[in-house]
């Protein structure tokens, strides 16, 4: 993906809005006794849309902003969120998103993984109190809530970033529509000599 200054600005705005929404709205909510994690959903979705490198950079920036705003240990949230963005981006580079449920499922999995990684880092940094088993419940429920949040969040972010997406570029759309025509022709006539993206008119002629 080519990051133009305009797209970089959009990404920066998305991150800033997501951090403010997380701090001032989602973190003050209690859904099934758990705080919804919008940031992981947004960073996971960005990774899916813009790729591994940009996803990791967005995750790092979001984590830095979050830790700074809360005046808490710098670097912990950055580490977790950059991993979320990177993993989501790697998925996008390796697999096609063929189903509308893929993004929410991936966001749910990555959010739960991020929460577990955050817990592991905290334990490594030395928590001196008892840790309740409810932490496990928290991780699972966060994943579940992330699934629900990703259903509207992913299409919304895709819409905002559409001009920069390779998947939605005209060239990509032309290739996809040619492939669709070929498969339609195969279903109608099943001719084997229609290889190499035959135009629609010729396809129909042969089939009839």
């Amino acid at each position: 993906m080519i990051i133009t200054p305009r797209i970089a600005l959009r990404l920066a705005l998305i991150i800033a809005i997501a951090v403010v929404l997380q701090l001032s709205f989602f973190s003050l909510l209690s859904v099934l006794g758990v705080t919804p994690d919008l940031l992981s959903v947004v960073i996971g979705s960005l990774g899916l849309l813009v790729g591994a490198v940009a996803g990791a950079v967005c995750g790092f920036a979001a984590g830095f902003l979050l830790d700074s705003a809360l005046l808490q240990t710098l670097g912990v949230s950055s580490m977790v969120l950059l991993s979320v963005g990177y993993l989501a981006g790697r998925y996008r580079e390796g697999f096609e998103i063929t189903n509308s449920l893929v993004a929410p499922l991936l966001a749910a999995g990555l959010t739960a993984l991020g929460a577990a990684a955050f817990s592991a880092i905290q334990l490594m940094l030395g928590v001196e109190t008892q840790v309740s088993l409810l932490v496990l419940r928290e991780i699972l429920l966060k994943g579940l809530i992330a699934f629900v949040l990703a259903v509207p969040a992913y299409p919304l972010l895709r819409r905002v970033l559409r001009p920069a997406l390779v998947d939605d570029s005209p060239a990509r759309r032309r290739i996809l529509s040619a492939a669709r025509l070929r498969s339609r022709a195969r279903r109608r006539g099943g001719s084997s000599h229609l290889r190499g993206g035959a135009p629609a008119r010729r396809v129909r002629g042969v089939a009839s």
Binding site: V20, S24, L28, A52, F60, D67, L74, G75, L125
Partner: protein, 291 residues
């Protein structure tokens, strides 16, 4: 070309991870006045007015979502509260006569009408504008800071009881570390004349605190109240003054061959959904507590 891309991708990932690790280690080792903390405070100062505006604007939506959640919880709590009301009615009569006696004694001792425990403290009211999204950091950001006289280690309360203390300030905002944060420890006394212990959180369960260092031969009953101990040795003292209500003993168990009891405390303050808090500024000097 592809290999070059892969190398670049890995380099970015490793670079960002290394920067994060450096940030973590500097953040831990650096003094509060260090450059990284100054940057952090700068970012927080810029973000806090935006957070405050967003918090006010989004309050109706937040209240709506929380209302649904609380409605589910309220069903379960209803039965327990019915039992508690019956118990409290009988205690009310005793309390009223005790209060009348107390007022007479106060007049005799010339203590006045002010809350004796917190006399001398100025209360600064702040609105919660941000909150940590994980159970590992129980911190909230409030919209009053050093500009309003708030200082580090000032106790923070609500009408229900103790909330925590100030751990960082900027001119217009402060970070409150709640009593459920894993870095928190509050020395507490069990009323009426019970032993002193240390209240610590249980990470993952914000509705449960643990009272540690109570000998197993001490008698502690369910329902007893806990207040801050406010101890002082002259050179070192607790950050909290005596008498701020913390919570109620919900369970007390003695394990076999255990030196200390396992005492669970239910905090009075609803730490999951606080909108306003009061910071106790000023007050008597507490030796050993940095300001």
């Amino acid at each position: 070309m592809y290999r070059k891309q892969v190398r670049r991708r890995r380099a970015v990932l490793v670079g960002l991870l290394v920067v994060s690790l450096i940030l973590v280690s500097i953040s831990f080792s650096e003094a509060e006045s260090g450059p990284l903390h100054s940057i952090q405070r700068g970012v927080s100062t810029v973000l806090s007015p935006i957070e405050e505006g967003a918090s006010r604007a989004l309050k109706p939506g937040r209240d709506l979502v929380n209302w649904f959640d609380e409605t589910f919880d309220a069903r379960g709590e209803n039965d327990a509260l019915q039992d508690e009301i019956a118990e409290l009615r009988s205690e009310l009569a005793d309390a009223q006569s005790a209060q009348a006696e107390n007022e007479q004694f106060r007049k005799m001792l010339d203590l006045g009408e002010a809350d004796a425990a917190l006399a001398g403290y100025k209360r600064v009211t702040g609105r919660v504008i941000g909150r940590s999204p994980t159970v590992w950091y129980s911190t909230v950001t409030i919209d009053v800071g050093s500009g309003s006289g708030v200082g580090v280690n000032d106790p923070v309360i609500t009408g229900d009881g103790l909330v925590g203390r100030i751990t960082d300030t900027t001119k217009g905002s402060s970070q409150v570390t709640l009593i459920t944060d894993h870095r928190s420890a509050v020395s507490a006394s069990i009323l009426p004349d019970g032993p002193d212990g240390v209240v610590e959180p249980e990470v993952g369960d914000p509705d449960d605190l643990l009272l540690d260092f109570i000998d197993s031969d001490e008698e502690v009953k369910e329902g007893q109240l806990l207040v801050t101990a406010g101890w002082s040795t002259g050179r070192v003292s607790s950050a909290y003054p005596y008498g701020i209500e913390i919570g109620r003993v919900s369970e007390a168990t003695i394990g076999e061959q255990e030196t200390f009891q396992q005492i669970h405390v239910e905090p009075f303050a609803k730490l999951r959904d606080i909108d306003f808090v009061q910071v106790l500024t000023g007050g008597e000097e507490r030796p050993g507590v940095p300001k």
